[in-house]
């Protein structure tokens, strides 16, 4: 078993829903309430030291409940280890605390997840779209976004 997942379960017994290490990929499914504490623990714990937030993305499991999932991919430059943290979010309340206070570099990933999936990161300093333009309606990577839908072309800003 992975030492990182063991320490995470030991420290947050109530928040870690499940873990696995299939194909050598350490993965933990956690609850969203203490996500910032969990991520800060993974960054600071001497056995983990995940100082590099490589990626944050969303997943839309349309038809399941909870529908959305936020996925953090972390890497430790010190320990040369990776871990994946997943959090499920309900459709009517897709809100999770922002991790910008833990890794400033995760800022744009959270904006991207908001833009593409509509996952709202509470406490984010600049929760705006990053890829699509301001007037765009909807979140294009959601599974129920109409494939053939085209939005009106915007003109030059005045």
């Amino acid at each position: 078993m992975s030492i990182v997942l063991d320490r995470l379960r030991e420290r947050f017994p109530a928040d870690v829903v499940s873990t696995h290490s299939d194909f050598g990929d350490d993965t933990a499914l956690v609850r969203r309430e203490r996500i910032v504490e969990i991520l800060a623990f993974l960054r600071d714990d001497p056995e983990s030291l995940f100082d590099f937030a490589m990626d944050l993305t969303g997943v839309d499991y349309l038809g399941e409940e909870p529908r959305f999932e936020a996925v953090y991919h972390l890497y430790s430059l010190e320990k040369k280890r990776r871990v994946r943290i997943k959090v499920r979010l309900h459709e009517d309340d897709p809100v999770i605390d922002s991790a910008v206070s833990v890794w400033p570099g995760i800022n744009w990933y959270e904006r991207e997840a908001y833009d593409m999936y509509g996952i709202v990161f509470r406490g984010h300093p600049n929760m705006k779209r990053i890829l699509m333009y301001e007037g765009f309606e909807g979140h294009p990577l959601r599974k129920d976004y109409p494939k053939a839908k085209r939005q009106p072309t915007i003109g030059p800003e005045e």
């Binding site: 890829l131 072309t153 030059p156 800003e157």
Partner: protein, 166 residues
């Protein structure tokens, strides 16, 4: 154009119209503005480079200010977020101006038929010459420049005069 040169080596004369003279000057001094957003831009660099040498056709002085350019060369994918920027650059260019739409993406959206890519720049601006291909060869760019020269030479209407398409 009628030209007469004196056999004695004295000054000769040429008869022409002012329009033809201006067109002749414009034809060999096209200043392109390259709006390269994708792999088509690499082919544009090839066309300007020494091997294909677009300067043979008087179109080698690339201007990166739209106010100094005659030809807008749109090379690459244009998405909805980029479209207002491109339209503004087109509006900033001085008349007369011509537009070359290079490659499948600029002409029609290419294989990006999705929520984010403009399905052809002719949705927002008049286009004089389309270059097909993904990406086109540098020969295609040279051919497009020669076609622009033919438009200037013959006085054929520019696409901007037919805009907007009804």
């Amino acid at each position: 154009m009628a030209v007469r040169l004196e056999k004695s080596g004295g000054p000769g004369y040429a008869l022409t119209t002012l329009e033809s003279l201006i067109a002749w000057g414009r034809k060999y001094s096209l200043y392109p503005f390259t709006f390269a957003t994708a792999c088509c831009g690499i082919e544009v660099m090839g066309a300007f480079g020494t091997h294909y040498d677009l300067s043979r056709f008087g179109a080698e002085v690339v201007r990166f200010s739209p106010r100094q350019a005659d030809v807008l060369l749109v090379a690459g994918t244009i998405n909805y977020k980029m479209a207002p920027v491109l339209k503004r650059i087109y509006d900033q260019m001085l008349e007369p101006k011509w537009v070359i739409s290079m490659g499948a993406c600029a002409c029609s959206g290419g294989f990006y038929n999705n929520y984010t890519v403009l399905q052809g720049i002719d949705k927002i601006m008049p286009v004089d010459v389309y270059i097909p291909g993904c990406p086109p060869n540098p020969e295609g760019i040279i051919d497009a420049v020669v076609r622009i020269q033919k438009i200037i030479e013959t006085g054929a209407p520019r696409a901007a005069e037919r805009w907007p398409i009804k």
